[in-house]
Symmetry: D2
Subunit: 457 residues, 4 copies
């Protein structure tokens, strides 16, 4: 991409928080420190939506001259962009969805990082407090709608999947959309984009003009997984644990497509919660699905979960191979169960207050070499605690693969060391190797160098 | 009103913040203390919209069995009302505008009194901070709109005016509405209702379905001046000074109708600000107007202002007698000047950031006998400082007349003592006596007993 | 009104049929004959909305230089007005409601008078055909809405009533509006305006932004009774009989306020239909109401109806004096009966197909001296036939009073002669004299000269 | 497809003409004759949207038990379907777009075939009259919008194209949609669907919720080319010539993708018009485009047009190979020229009144063996007349290939005979053979038997 591909533009918002106080403008101004840096970084990720790269550092380097400034005008604030990637523009005019997402970033950074500022963090907050904070962030982002019945299907899966897998995610999205269901994903490419695209076409057929394509991301991942432009609600959660909590509290059911370590992290997070005794009765439709070529992949996962977490974990999901209509029907029927349960217990449709999320799943896990060494990967503990530490293990691998900080740690100190039970780690390592073979750990093309080594007891 | 006139009802919101976190629900629950009391008190004022009484204590006593409870349900929260006044209902169904206002109270109490809690107050806040807070409260209440040109006319005047004066306020509102202007008032009856009613009919003629009838009130006054049901945006500001700042920063021009001490307080507040040297260039259309019978009233005010604040103050407003079209034209033309000024200085249309409000006008003045005695009512000071203390003097009288706390102080300690320059106080006393004679100080019917006495040097 | 009060303007439509074919434009052009004259005449009536005159000829004379031309432009057609009355404008800009009504006239003249052209008329059409035509005219005017329940209350009554009567019509409209009912009237001033004004304020309180204020008029009456600007749906029916049919087929209930000969005509039309044996079971809420001062008026009407049509006719309506809430409750409850009846018989909510209207009530009655002499006002006939001829007798008087053609006939040939049974005519004459005494036959101020004389057998 | 795949359902409309008069209901009732048959046939074509078959007769046979009945209910009419194809339903509920189109058929049949009934036809109508009728049909279908600038791109091309060609049409549609342009096609599959699908996704990215996907069809073609479900405005024109006129008068520019005889017919129709001297100055953006594999196809067409119509014809279009962005840019820039021309000449944006369409192109050509023999395919005549007869020749071939009537004629009388100049017919035959080789004349799979033979002088 040459320098000619840079665009300077002054863009006005569409929608809500174009109206900033002078305090807020000052806080985000160039030269104001870490908040401005964060804003600039997330904005760049949004603008770089046309790129296939998931190498955050490379993107930052490529656009080091990019700058973004808030300008006060008589009808609200605007954003002045300098040296922005041209892929966000058509004939020099910014694509509306990009513009919208740019202002979503502004909104979330102001609200999230001002109200619950990162420095003091929420590290000492109680479980209840964190759940309330996640609620407030989503409410501020206007995610909550008045709905007649639960309808939000979360789709998880890899950002870098094969073409036939991608096509299958579109088909599933299409069938979900025909049934008037909405889609929530992590908002990048691959399995995060396909279901939205399929649903968008289906919603057009059903004349639904207010279909929701909700993207939940966080500052550490946004640069590597630029939101796809179908996303029409974007929320930047403060960290990965808040993002995961947002998924399971706003989603009414979850479909898991093939993916790599990130998807495995999500599966373990969810199963760990669903296996908690307090959640035994809560209906939560969960389907693992892929085209027929992916059957083997799900067998591996299924076997691994059976081995480490037992049949009890396996009972929490269904595996459906190559049948998009069946997936959509299971979800649609599941919505009805969720509806009845919530009504009966006077729980909100828009936020699953009743789901108990143990603190282990709420506090941020920052994968330093030291913290990774402390993970407790043994069979002899409560299943949901083992699930929590397995989740952290996968989180570590995601960080080492794509997150700027994680990649930096690896550069400085070599691969992470994951300690644990021999049999368990062998299973884990086999699964990860299979991911590598199937090119699920990085974008196809670049050879994969593992960011971890397994050290058994 | 008999006990049969009480209604029990479960009401759902129309609109935004029906979605509360569990924290918020807990904080406002029955038995949770002062916040619930405040909520209950304001809610009752809203529900009592059919009453003509401005005796807050009597209303509270009459409806002492009234209770309000927040109920969580699957589609958001609802409000359970017990023993509510029947005037808010038609055939047992709550009038929509009342319902809307009830949830506005909920929204403002949660936001205002949680974010900027009353205990810590904003007593030590800087002028800039207070201005930002007023901004944030209004933004949270969705008061800010994207407009093509300034259009908000604030109407001030008495809540208890004569029929012919009331009819005139309707005519002025009608002419303003025909010119596509919107109305903001203190949201009670009288001069606060007439302009809205006239504008509503005019907006219907102009097929304007998004006309704005903005009511700004505060907890101390809401019980005595129930919002009229035309109001379609209601904001409960935390105290009278924030409310006054909200008027002058969101309004683009002001029309003053005949009124009593409250209206005088508003006039002095505004002139004090406009006379500040930093505001010399800021256009601010200001008209005093009434039917021909009110000509003498405005002559008295005009003379008083000339005497205490000088010709400079008189230059800030025009007096128009019995010509509603002229008033509307002046406002319409004034809007254009405001538009050009804001555009030129890149100031927002929706909030007058450039207007300098000295700290004397921002911090709450609580009229205790001690504070009132400290007022400095002498000529030998800067005009805007004298205006500030005169404003406080009128505020004192309003409190002594209609506010629960003020009435209580008088009961305990006798009338307030206002000290000052002999000539000045004589003028003041004459003006106040004229108000009494014209029955502008209290609802007609009950004899007026002054809540103050003048003590000259 | 001086020549300075004339305005030239080019106005664009708000809404539907701004899109004309070249055929249509040609047909309505200046110089194209009777259709253009009709258009010009109706347009002038709309524009003259600020006038209180009901003297059509005088208005035509006053604005003889007025002209209206259709102009084709790239975004649809516009209307060029020359020497238009200034009362339709605010600061040189046309009031939106007037603009809307102007284009309603255009729409109806093109559709009505082109599809069912006046020359061939519908004189030989069957009853079914006429009913279908009335339906098509209303459908083309977008009068039919999808509604959950019947809600349209027709209000009949004089255009020139006393102030206290007018205030009462506003109160009734307010109570109807609070109950979410809509209003349909003949769209002039007086009892045709008051209920709409009251309902408009009530709808604002109920946050109803799609309230309907339907005005039904016809070319012969529009000049004398300019549509009031609250009307937001205006339909020009081709003649008085189609207009009356439109009232009873789109309205779900009717409230009759005090009025003169026109109101009596409407009452007799309706009773004649409701008394037809085929309509015996059809629910049709009907209330005669006025302030307490009007009690005597309704006693006279009631006695007259009892005398000429019998108790059976009296059983079709209720008389409510000075109780607007009771009127509104009767209508609201009546709506429910109508709803159940229509549902049960699969009849449309928006058009009363089941109501049988005998041909006698459908064909135009043009009151020439000859036709009037032929009226059969005797007791010895079926009641609904007597009602039909009584209706024509009152129609004759309306024409002689305010319609251009009727006034012309009188000028040329002297008063109309109404023949009939002695006793019956005595009752009729007494009623008409009472109307005169109460100044119900013409605008107060001008002395009334009867346009008819009674000739008994 | 088994009998289990039939669905019975009662469907309510979304939108406008759900409100029918009793006359209209009677006219379309089962047993009422040809109008009901037409309605049933078109309705079946809509419902059969999931099918890939373009064999109308086979579809009619397969669903011979299908029936459709109009049912009057209190909130308007509904449609009772019996034995309808299940592809129009998801889990037993009709897809909204199908439902919408079903009622479009109802609307158009009532209006078109009642107002301008087929029997009397418009055979003797003047050119002006036909142009006004086309206008009225489109207006009645609410096709005309108020737009700020021309934006409607007509896409022509085959309904049965190769996968890579289809993918290319999607890309072009996407680029058009990103530039906020709308799409009009013949509303079947292939090149009529791809651009709409691409534009739908692009409109989602641009947050355009009122994107227009206009489908123009006619009773003879609808069964073979079921409207695709992206179409959100469907109009059934009475015959192919009115449909072609609708394309060129509502479209602001045209993109031609590869296709067969139908596409060639469209090209010749358009060039014949554009070459008329009266249209010399009218801007009409026209691009022929396809993926790089289609380059040869357009070379053939280009050569043929150059040969038979000359360079003058070739100057009317541009050929763009494999560059969707370039196509979109040409159209976008062309829109601006159209805008300026219309503004300058006060012609409507929504209907190209100024374009002269000679009568030869307006009257229906029914390809009987006799009429086909009369075609005059010689060089020695005005170019636009030759184009007119060439258009008819291609129309003949389309009829012989896919239209029920044409197929019947062939069955009875053998292939059509096309007479003409030897050299010209040789060129024509070569072109048609190329179409056959490229499988552009019928759905791939079934061998093509030509429905015509060429007979040279």
């Amino acid at each position: 991409m040459s320098l000619e591909d840079r665009v300077n533009a002054l863009v006005a918002p569409k929608g809500a928080l174009e109206i900033l106080s002078q305090d807020e403008i000052t806080r985000l101004s160039v030269g104001s420190g870490s908040l401005h840096d964060l804003f600039r970084r997330c904005a760049l990720a949004i603008l770089n939506c046309g790129s296939d790269s998931d190498d955050a550092a490379a993107v930052m380097e490529e656009f080091k001259n990019f700058e973004i400034t808030i300008v006060q005008q008589e009808r609200g604030v605007k954003l002045q962009l300098d040296n922005a990637p041209s892929s966000a523009f058509v004939d020099g005019k910014m694509i509306s969805s990009v513009r919208e997402m740019l202002f979503s970033v502004l909104r979330d950074i102001i609200f999230t990082f001002q109200e619950y500022n990162l420095e003091r963090g929420l590290s000492s907050a109680s479980s209840e407090k964190i759940t309330n904070v996640v609620f407030e962030l989503l409410r501020n982002a206007n995610v909550f709608r008045r709905i007649r019945t639960p309808d939000m299907v979360v789709c998880w899966g890899g950002h870098s999947i094969a073409r036939h897998e991608y096509d299958y995610t579109k088909k599933v999205g299409h069938e979900l959309g025909l049934r008037e269901l909405n889609i929530c994903t992590g908002c990048g490419p691959g399995a995060m984009k396909g279901p939205m695209k399929g649903a968008a076409i289906a919603h057009a057929k059903q004349r639904i003009t207010n279909g929701v394509y909700l993207g939940l991301t966080e500052p550490g991942i946004i640069a590597a997984e630029s939101p796809n432009p179908i996303v029409n609600q974007l929320v930047i959660m403060p960290d990965i644990e808040k993002r995961l909590e947002a998924f399971v509290r706003t989603g009414h059911g979850i479909v898991v497509f093939p993916g790599g370590a990130g998807t495995a992290e999500e599966i373990l997070y969810l199963l760990g919660i669903l296996m908690h005794p307090e959640n035994a009765d809560i209906p939560f439709p969960l389907v693992f699905t892929g085209p027929k070529e992916s059957a083997a992949y799900f067998e591996q996962i299924h076997a691994f979960l059976g081995d480490v977490l037992g049949e009890e974990a396996q009972a929490k999901y269904q595996i459906v191979i190559d049948d998009e209509t069946e997936v959509a029907r299971i979800m649609k029927e599941g919505m009805e169960e969720v509806r009845q349960y919530r009504k009966q217990h006077h729980d909100a449709f828009y936020y699953n207050w009743m789901l108990h999320i143990p603190e282990e799943f709420q506090h941020p896990f920052e994968p330093t070499h030291e913290k990774v060494r402390e993970l407790n990967l043994h069979y002899d503990q409560e299943k949901h605690l083992l699930a929590a530490d397995l989740r952290r293990a996968f989180s570590t691998i995601v960080a080492g693969n794509v997150k700027a900080q994680g990649v930096q740690y690896i550069k400085e100190n070599g691969p992470f060391e994951i300690h644990g039970d021999k049999k368990l780690l062998k299973k884990l390592d086999a699964l990860l190797e299979a991911f590598v073979k199937q090119q699920r750990m990085k974008l196809p093309g670049s050879a994969y160098v593992p960011c971890y080594k397994v050290i058994t007891d």
